[in-house]
Every structure is written in C-alpha cells, then in structure tokens.
C-alpha cells in the first residue's frame, strides 16, 4: 500500500532524511498563504510515476501563476486519478541525481539496499548493469549502507552523506514495517548537500495492524485499484477481479486459481473470484469463515453480471458443518426478502426470484457429508436446485454449462 509524496515527506522529516521546505495545498487559494519563497514547484499528489510527463508538475515564479497552475493541476486527471492535494515545494538546484531504495526481497528473505547514480528516468531494461545492491544478511548496521555507497562508486564526504541517508531509510523501513522505501531522485547540490526530491513508500499490509498511526493514513488508500462496487464492498479481502458470468468462491488462493483456470479452459468466463481463506488473518477484521461466506454470497448477488456462483471448498474449515446453513440462509433470504441483500441497487417491484444466480457447490471431504445432503435438497428462489458435486472437474463443467444455458438475464 503506497503513500502519497507529501505523506512520504512527512515521514522523511520525522526520521531525519533531508527534504525541501514544502507545504500541502488543499485548494488553489491556499497558495496566498504560502510560507515558501518563489520560485516553487507544484506537484499533483497522485500515485502515478509518470505525473511529470502528464503535466502534473509545474514550476511557478509568482502567486498569480501558482494559483492558475494549481487550478489546472487540480483538474488534470493522471492515469484516471484527480489529485485531492497538491504539494508546493521550494526549487532545488542539483548537480547530480541518484536513485536509492530499501526493498524486501522475498527470494533471499532479506531486505536489500539499492542505489544507482542515475535517477528519475532509469532505463530499467539496462538497470541490472548500473543498479548496485547490498543484501542485509544479518541485523542492519551502518556498514551495509557504506558498502552500497562505495559500490555506487562514491567516495569521501559524499559517500558518507549517502550512506547516512540509506541508514535512515532502513530505520524507517523497519520502524514502519515497509515493503519498500525509495528516494527518486535524491538531489546532490554542487556543494555536496543531499536532498530527497521525491520518494515512495510502500507499507506492508499485514503489519498495519500493529501501527495504528499508519492504519489511519492508509484507510483511504485501500480501494483505489478496484473498479466494481462488489469488490470494493469486500474491503481488503483476497479478490481477483474479472468480468465474466461465473463467480468463484473458495478456500485457498491456489485452489481458486486452479478453479479459474479450469473454467477458462472449459470455455467459461470467470467473474469475481474470492478467497475466503481458512481463517481470519488480521486483527482488524475479526471475522469467521461463516461470516465471510455469508457476506461474500450477499455481495455477489448484488452484481448483476454474475449468473453462476461456483463454490469450491475442500479440506478443513473450522466451521465446515455450518457451510450448508449459511448457503441455505442465503437462498431462503433471497426467496423471501429480496431487499435484504440488495440494499442500494434493488429496483423494488421486480420479481427477484428470476434473477437469483445459479449455485454450483463442490464440497470435498468427509467434513461436508451432511452439508452435501442438506444442500442437494434445497431450492433456490428461481426454483432451480443447487448443483452439488464432489469432483472439481465436474463442478466446473456444471458451472460452465449453466452459465451458457441460462436463458434469463439478470437486471
């Protein structure tokens, strides 16, 4: 989960990484109360790396120009995002620009320090020649940072000031449980002073629960990559967003992906694919498998493009025996109280029964013996029965067949 530049720079300031004097601009008229001297640079606070090329970064010399520029940046969408905030920052004369990063490398299971004496427009194709790195094998100590600076070909005072910045980046990385902290570019002035001109920070989502201060900053960010309301409603769940007719629910990411592949390879089109996992992962969502299943079904029913829900459960679920109850409740509430799971989008008078998605339920394992019998006996609101199978290939074939044959269109 990434932060915006102005948030990153607040963190840099706290930890002691040098940044330019800057000011957050929520509205163009804020520039009348600017405390920084002109010339300044105005930067759109969006997540796109390409914002400079897109016109999201402007140099201005006077208040009048600044307000005009701010108005146009506020109205300039970059990769689909309109900025809520701009950052006004002093201008800085650089002689050199570097790239610095600390990233968690999941292959070597260690943080890695990265540095390059090119910046901004790094040619990533050729970067493996120019990019230097140091694996932080044991507990970090400043000599790892010096090792990086030397590998970058630096020496003397500059070697030391760069390694000091890397040290502080690492400190931030550990303190805040980050996946990445990046300075790009780090400006070096003719006198050898260094300045973090732009920075990225990516917070590890699993560690946010132990950083209440970060959780606050990031709640807004969670949903920015999702387009459908169904998926947005599921918050930080484990979702693959696709746009076909067959929704897939399962326990386990690998199994969901295998199911998705099978659907595609059998000529079907998967819709939202949702991993209910085996147990709840984070403290921030202290839910149960049962409650996740219930919420997932009700959410999917609001998505009119979904015609079939393929449920694939196997193995050990802490509340396995209750799966059939949740599905039965879902089916019954769909029959009797159509509003209950369609709070906002329901168009009241319509007969929801015909619009109820078909259900294919694949349950493997003795834990589900009862559930299978129970479900096979149920009828959905559209008066069709629930398809209950034990074999995965068979379940997929049924789902694809049903999606193809459903004569009705859900509205």
């Amino acid at each position: 989960m990434d932060l915006l530049e102005y948030q990153v720079k607040e963190w840099f300031t706290e930890i002691g990484i040098p940044v330019l004097p800057s000011q957050r601009v929520d509205h163009p008229t804020d520039l009348k109360r600017l405390k920084i001297n002109y010339p300044i640079v105005l930067k759109s606070q969006v997540y796109a790396g390409e914002r400079a090329k897109a016109g999201g970064v402007r140099f201005v010399e006077t208040t009048i120009d600044a307000i005009a520029a701010a108005r146009s940046i506020f109205n300039l969408p970059i990769l689909g995002q309109l900025p809520e905030v701009l950052l006004a920052e002093a201008k800085y004369e650089t002689e050199q620009e570097f790239y610095l990063a600390v990233v968690l490398d999941t292959a070597v299971c260690r943080p890695v320090l990265l540095g390059c004496t090119e910046a901004d427009d790094i040619n990533w194709e050729l970067a493996d020649e120019k990019m230097q790195y140091v694996v932080v094998e044991q507990e970090f100590s400043p000599f790892y940072a010096r090792r990086l600076a030397l590998k970058m070909g630096l020496q003397g005072a500059l070697m030391q000031s760069i390694s000091t910045v890397v040290e502080k980046m690492y400190q931030l990385f550990v303190e805040k449980d980050l996946d990445l902290v990046e300075i790009n570019p780090l400006g070096v002035s003719s006198s050898g002073q260094v300045m973090a001109l732009n920075g990225n920070v990516s917070v590890n989502e699993r560690a946010i629960g132990r950083h209440p201060e970060i959780a606050e900053t990031t709640t807004k960010i969670v949903n920015r990559y999702t387009s459908s309301e169904t998926v947005r409603n599921l918050g930080d769940w484990d979702v693959v967003e696709m746009h076909g007719k067959i929704a897939i629910l399962g326990n386990g990411a690998g199994l969901i992906m295998a199911t998705l592949d099978l659907v595609v390879n059998s000529g079907g089109k998967p819709g939202v694919c949702l991993n209910l996992r085996h147990a709840s992962v984070t403290e921030t969502s202290p839910d149960t498998f049962k409650s996740r299943l219930d919420k997932a079904l009700r959410n999917m029913a609001t998505d009119k493009s979904i015609q079939v829900i393929l449920i694939n459960f196997l193995g050990s679920i802490s509340q396995g025996t209750e799966v059939s109850e949740v599905i039965a409740d879902f089916v019954e509430s769909g029959a009797s109280e159509p509003q209950s799971f369609l709070p906002s989008r329901s168009n009241g008078g319509k007969n929801r029964r015909e619009n109820f998605p078909r259900l294919v339920v694949r349950l493997a394992g003795s834990e589900f013996d009862k559930a299978r019998k129970h479900l096979a006996a149920l009828k959905t609101p559209s008066d069709t029965s629930i398809v209950v199978v034990e074999d995965l290939d068979e379940g997929v074939a049924e789902a694809v067949r049903l999606a193809r044959s459903t004569a009705y269109r859900r509205f």
Partner: protein, 293 residues
C-alpha cells in the same frame, strides 16, 4: 529432519488456525503430541492436551521436544518461535498466516544461526501418510505410497493428493512450504530431501503465480535432482497482479521483467528444465504414472 512417529511434538497457541478436529487427526495419524503451550492457560486441558504457560515447562516435564506447531496470532509468531528455539526445538511448523515479513526476516536470521528448520508461515505442514501428521493437512485425502508432493498452497495441495489417491497413487510425503511472501524452508531444500528419501519415487511440484520460487526449483531440478518430477502451476489464466512491489524481489526490481512472478514465466522455466507439466489437477496421475515407468 526427525519425522518419526516417536518424535515429540508440541502445539503453541490455540487460535482459530487449529481446531479440535486437527488435533484429533494428528493423534489419529500417529503423531506423538505431548502438550500445548498457551500463555495464561497453564494447568488447563485443551483438546485433550495438557496446557502450559511456557515451552520450557514442557521440556522440563517431557524432555527434549523435536517439533513445535505454531498457531498463535500472526503478530506473536516471532515470540513463540524464538521461545521454541531458546528451548532447543529444531523443527518449527508455522500454521499462522499473515506474519509481518520483517518478523520473518528476524526469525530466519536466528533460525539459520541455530540450524533450525522453519516450515511456513501460512503452511498446513507436513504429512507422511500412515506415519505422522505435523500440521493441519486433512489425512482423509491421503494414502501411503511413493509420490512426494511439494507445494506452497494449502487446499490445492489436498486437491492434488485427492486426485492421486483416487487414481490409486499413494503418497510418501506431502509438504507445503507455506504461501506467505517470506517462508522458512524452500522448494530447493525439500527437493533435496525428497531426492534422498527412499520412500519417494516421483515428486509432484505444485506452483502458483508470485515470486520466483518455481523458476529456482526448475533450475535446481535440471541441475541436481535424479528422480522424476511432474509439475502443475495454477493461475495460468489469472490476470497479472498490478504491482511488481507485491512480489518484491530483487529480480523484480532490477530489470523489472514484466513477466516476473507470472505463471507463464514459471511454465517456461519448467519446460526449459524438461519437467512435464499437467494442465489440470486431474491430469497429474497420468503424468505421474508415465514418469514411474
């Protein structure tokens, strides 16, 4: 590795990641579960196990412990694991998912120094059908035999065991190294163990998108593994993840290979290593039989 039925096993933490059923299955499968540790619950019985407040109390009462199965809250995994290591336990199986990666980095540094095997986190553990179950793998899908399954998934692993069992192919062992971004033991370590394991005649490697573990495994198979290997990669049709950072490895940063972490990349590496790849789980038994000929 000490995976004999006589080795002593402990459970740390009784969260939702482990149920009465899991514990009963472990016992039924011959695992010598001696106790549980759950701070604040010392003196109680949970799922028929005597419960202690500290690992060292268990060691004091039962002698050296071989393996611990860690099921505490993800944020307490590091502490539980360090406690186990301090009590000279050398095999740790971490069931809990969602351990903060930097906690894992710290744990792995310590584990390497102390020559401790870490399986997981986010792993259902290890099963040797008919002999021992260390974790939450459902034994009902397994049957003793000669196929070694190596995976980083949970339910997908069971799916494949089920297909093999239905086709009359028993398993010598099944290990999931865990599906978190940072895990202890690697495919490479387990490929080597299975290559040397007398009971194993053929290895089934199960992969999925993300990281480059399967690519590394493919290279290692070509170089060092004598036994036949059959692979299956899930997610060939899944849309790519949006950010290279989520798979955050150095290879993903340097070079920024657009295919890094994709199923496509993994299939290419396996094909290059001449490992036959099944198109669907149900095709695996067929390939295994071919490999065994």
């Amino acid at each position: 590795m000490n995976l004999t039925p006589y080795s002593k096993v402990l459970i740390q933490g009784f969260s939702e990641y482990i149920t009465a059923n899991h514990v009963a299955q472990m016992k039924a499968n011959g695992t010598n579960l001696v106790a549980g540790v759950n701070p604040g619950c010392g003196g109680q019985q949970i799922y028929g196990l005597p419960v202690f407040d500290l690992v060292e109390e268990v060691v004091e009462q039962f002698g050296e412990i071989d393996t611990t199965i860690i099921c505490v809250h993800p944020y307490q995994v590091l502490d539980a694991a360090l406690e186990a290591i301090a009590s000279n336990i050398h095999q740790l199986i971490i069931i809990s998912p969602g351990v903060p990666p930097l906690d894992m980095v710290e744990l792995l540094r310590k584990a390497e120094a102390k020559e401790t095997l870490i399986v997981g986190p986010n792993s259902p553990g290890i099963i040797i059908p008919g002999k021992i179950l260390l974790g939450t793998q459902p034994s009902e899908f397994y049957t003793p035999g000669t196929v070694g399954i190596l995976s980083r998934s949970t339910t997908l692993t069971y799916e494949i065991a089920r297909e093999l069992t239905h086709a009359g192919l028993g398993q010598s062992i099944s290990v999931s190294i865990g599906s978190d971004a940072i895990v202890g033991s690697s495919f490479l370590q387990w490929l080597q163990i299975l290559d040397e394991d007398e009971a194993t005649k053929v290895i089934v490697l199960v992969g999925q998108p993300g990281g480059d573990r399967e690519e590394a495994a493919a290279r290692y198979i070509a170089e060092a593994i004598d036994k036949p290997v059959v692979a299956y990669i899930a997610g060939t049709q899944a849309p790519p993840v949006k950010h290279w950072r989520q798979t955050g490895t150095l290879a993903a940063v340097i070079g920024r290979d657009p295919d890094f972490g994709t199923a496509k990349n993994k299939l290419a590496a396996l094909s290059f290593a001449r490992v036959p790849v099944a198109e669907r789980p149900s095709q695996i038994p067929e390939l295994v039989k071919k490999a065994l000929k």
